[in-house]
Symmetry: C2
Subunit: 303 residues, 2 copies
């Protein structure tokens, strides 16, 4: 079992600064009428851990100073826009009906349901616009086949995310086994986290590079670990630390790992998934320092 | 003024059969859990005029038997999926709150708000999945730069559509002038109709071909004409013919062309836009027979 040393959060902080700046540049490049514009900025700029962009950058860092880094930056923006769209829609009254997100009013609480719905809708198409754009390009323009691969990965994972949502809703109040729960979470959360990693992977590695399947394994393990940890935090943390309503899962009788296997077993399972993730990273030896740091942060996080 | 001869609807009927078949093939290729799957099929397979796919096919027919026709078929499916997503979301209680669409229950009326929301969400990502897929490919695979252009056009027009929705909501109960109204409709309806044409255009013509700007002009004119005609039909038609609630625009004090300029002037304006569309088609002479037929159908339609 991998021990968790002091977690260095510098890489995450740096990624958060980078994505905040890039998201701002991306949003500023769009012309949108009010109140849509304010709702979109609200949904995107509230902060959050920015785990997906951080994983995207860290994956690209396996080959530092890669000439296609602009495409990695676009991928990080795009995956975060998809994540933000999903949150805006998840919080709607017909879904989780949540008024609090990251300690702030949710998008519909601040701007009304119609505008929050449309903000989510446009965030999805904006993600694909950004991927296909020349944003952040300097001298090197990126080959079309790479961008096309990025788009395929993003589109597929976005669809999976929606399927996961549906499976999750269907499972409320039901007893589901671990396999069914994994299927929910691999789709609902895991697919987009894996997409963040794979969009960077296909940008910096050839399609036949053995690094690709290793990163896919890493993405699968870390994506699921993230959700197990999320379920654990919903039980052990409080609303203030989480920035969203704690204990909500139990309240609405959600299928979670602690509910299924007990808290201690869930913690052990999270660790096991992290071990799988680290095992996949071993292929890259010291080059994977950034991915390793972020993985350690994810396991030790409190919110 | 162009006279409207007997409209030959054969081309439209053929396009409707083709898109129905291709949409079925596309949806069948996706694995979705219930009730999402049923809601998605409901939202997509109810029918409708399929104007966007028809324009897409007819544009491609400017160069019959083009080797990249598979990419045209994918574009037709993708644009129709985006259209269907927008309808599913438009009908939601927080938007138009409509229970009837094409003479059938709307998606949320049949499947509940949460499922209709998620059906719309996945339809959007599925559109991009289809564009990037190998669906309908036979021996010829299509060059990545073309598919990338298609994606950019689709993503941009999808974002514009959402902006148009917001402008439309903002204009309710307001007096807007013709310029503002055009801005609403060029975004809300025009952009996606133009996208259907341009996705086919970039597939069959080189980027520098003078056909491209002509088709852009045609798309702009026909896209706006479509909306003017829609506004007119909302006044002059009845619910049974329309398959959706007639007279709804006036009821919710929507900004429409008949409200702005009077019914007769609106009709004259629709004709004028069609004349512009036909003028752009003149460049293609007899090759544009299919596009011309569909334009004539759009002007003479009753629903």
């Amino acid at each position: 079992m991998t021990s968790i040393p002091n977690v260095n959060t510098e890489i995450l902080t740096h990624a958060q600064q980078q994505i905040q700046q890039d998201l701002t540049m991306a949003l500023d490049a769009f012309s949108m009428p009010e109140p849509l514009k304010s709702a979109v900025y609200h949904a995107v700029m509230l902060g959050g851990k920015r785990v997906r962009p951080a994983l995207c950058y860290a994956t690209a860092n396996l080959k530092p100073n890669h000439p296609h880094y602009a495409a990695v930056r676009r991928a990080a923006v795009a995956v975060e826009l998809i994540h933000c769209y999903s949150l805006a829609h998840d919080d709607l009254p017909c879904m989780d009906n949540d008024l609090l997100r990251r300690g702030q009013p949710t998008c519909h609480a601040a701007f009304g349901e119609d505008t929050a719905l449309l903000a989510g809708d446009i965030l999805q198409s904006m993600a694909f616009e950004v991927l296909g754009s020349r944003l952040f390009d300097t001298q090197h323009s990126v080959d079309s086949p790479i961008i096309l691969k990025q788009m395929q990965i993003l589109a597929t994972s976005s669809s999976k995310m929606v399927c996961g949502q549906v499976l999750d809703i269907q499972a409320e109040g039901q007893h589901v086994d671990q396999q069914a729960l994994e299927n929910i979470h691999r789709n609902k959360t895991g697919a987009l986290i894996q997409a963040a990693i794979m969009m960077a992977a296909v940008t910096i590695f050839d399609g036949t590079d053995p690094a690709i399947p290793q990163l896919r394994k890493f993405g699968q393990a870390i994506g699921l670990a993230f959700q197990v940890q999320d379920d654990i935090l919903d039980v052990v943390s409080d609303t203030q630390t989480l920035g969203k309503t704690a204990g909500k899962d139990e309240q609405v009788d959600k299928s979670t790992y602690p509910a299924l296997m007990g808290l201690e077993q869930a913690k052990a399972y999270a660790q096991q998934l992290h071990d799988q993730a680290f095992a996949a990273l071993a292929y890259f030896a010291d080059d994977a320092e950034q991915l390793s740091q972020i993985s350690q942060f994810l396991l030790s996080r409190k919110s």
